[in-house]
């Protein structure tokens, strides 16, 4: 009986491996998908910078909030930390962007840098590729005299979901990669 069980595991095990191998992307295509996910995070960093910028017209900021929100999976949350408190607050992404737009500084500078994978995109049984990208965010808030009143650097981890989808365009079936960002978790905050 035990032998039969082992045999079944062996047979089905190889079957499953074979099925996955067929779905595996070539290194060149995988590279493009990896780059696309990184690009979406870079896009988000630009959007955050625009939304936080006090010189951005209100209508533009709202338009960019819509675009930025589209980058996320529904229900995703954004972690917010401060050097002035120990706890990390989590907001829905829409709420986070609206709060960012209304921050009580005269001028805000937000830069993201060192954007890279900490966990490569890995294919899940449902075909979704999941990975984690880490970023460093430098935040600077200035008062109306132009004096720097607050600054911090936060390391954040962003979960990335990539799934192959299809859509009809002009009578053509287009296979595309849908990249969606998940929760953004604060890892550490320093000066």
């Amino acid at each position: 009986m035990k032998k039969i069980a082992y045999l079944l595991i062996l047979v089905f095990g190889f079957g499953i491996t074979g099925a996955f191998a067929q779905d595996n992307l070539s290194p060149e295509r995988k590279q493009a998908v990896d780059s696309l996910a990184l690009e979406k995070v870079r896009d988000l960093s630009k959007y955050i910078s625009i939304i936080g910028n006090k010189e951005t017209p209100w209508s533009e900021a709202n338009r960019v909030i819509d675009r930025a929100e589209e980058l996320f999976m529904q229900g995703s949350e954004m972690g917010v930390s401060s050097l002035n408190r120990t706890e990390i607050n989590y907001y829905s992404v829409r709420n986070y962007f609206e709060r960012l737009m209304r921050l009580n500084y005269n001028k805000v500078e937000i830069d993201w840098y060192n954007i890279e994978y900490v966990s490569d995109l890995q294919r899940q049984p449902d075909g979704t590729y999941v990975g984690v990208i880490t970023i460093f965010q430098r935040f600077r808030g200035y008062d109306k005299e132009g004096k720097l009143v607050y600054q911090d650097t936060t390391k954040k981890d962003i979960t990335v979901y990539v799934k192959r989808k299809e859509t009809q365009i002009g009578g053509r079936l287009i296979g595309f990669w849908d990249v969606l960002l998940g929760d953004i978790r604060v890892k550490e905050t320093t000066i």
């Binding site: 070539s26 493009a32 675009r67 365009i169 002009g170 287009i174 296979g175 990669w177």
Partner: protein
């Protein structure tokens, strides 16, 4: 005694005449034979030369052009060499020359089509460059207002602001991988937001009035 001398003189004369007659006939016969031998050798040489040239044509080891090969085969045929092997080689060489000519014609046609395609793509490229330059201008605008003006100008080239924009992220093994499809308005605003244009127009569809109905871009990583 006198009678004997006379007899000996006559005998000598007969001998001499016979010797001259026999000797002359033998010499004439040798000359004809020599000429025949020489003709046979020349013919054999001609046959050998013909075989050599025909084999060189068939095996493509000659330095001759296709026209020169065709001329050589025609010359050999005109010589009417009575040799079965030469006749067989002539047929084979003619086929080979015809084959080489067809190959040349095919290559010339391919080259003509390639140049035609190149010219067509060049024309398209220059048409696409107009769009690439417009998109670069939006990305490089110095202010939101300037970028919005550029977007308005660019949108006039589209049949509607919702025209689909497809972005190819990779082209491997004949498979196009795309980013999530977007629209003309959203794409142009995206360029304004990220302030960079790292794409190239790959293809576009237009309607009867020349307005773009579908745009395909290639992402430049």
């Amino acid at each position: 005694m006198k009678h004997t001398l006379k007899f000996l003189t006559r005998l000598m004369m007969v001998f001499l005449i016979t010797a001259i007659a026999v000797g002359g006939a033998t010499s004439c016969k040798s000359k004809k034979k020599l000429a025949a031998e020489q003709a046979a050798a020349a013919y054999a040489k001609k046959v050998d030369q013909a075989k050599g040239d025909l084999n060189a044509i068939i095996n493509r080891t000659s330095d001759w052009t296709v026209d020169e090969q065709r001329q050589r085969v025609a010359d050999i045929r005109a010589e009417n060499l009575d040799d079965p092997e030469v006749q067989k080689l002539i047929t084979m060489a003619e086929k080979e020359v015809d084959f080489q000519q067809a190959e040349l014609d095919r290559k010339a046609e391919e080259e003509r089509l390639r140049k035609e395609e190149e010219a067509r793509l060049m024309a398209l490229r220059s048409e696409y460059e107009v769009f690439d330059n417009q998109f670069k201008a939006i990305a490089g605008a110095s202010s939101v207002d300037q970028a919005n003006q550029q977007i308005d100008v660019s949108l006039q080239n589209f049949s509607s602001p919702d025209v689909p924009v497809l972005i190819i992220i990779s082209q491997v093994d004949g498979i196009n991988d795309y980013d999530k499809p977007t629209t003309a308005t959203q794409f142009l605003n995206y360029l304004k937001d990220v302030k960079k244009y790292e794409f190239q127009v790959e293809s576009m569809k237009t309607d009867a009035s020349g307005k773009v109905t579908e745009l395909e871009l290639l992402k430049k990583w």
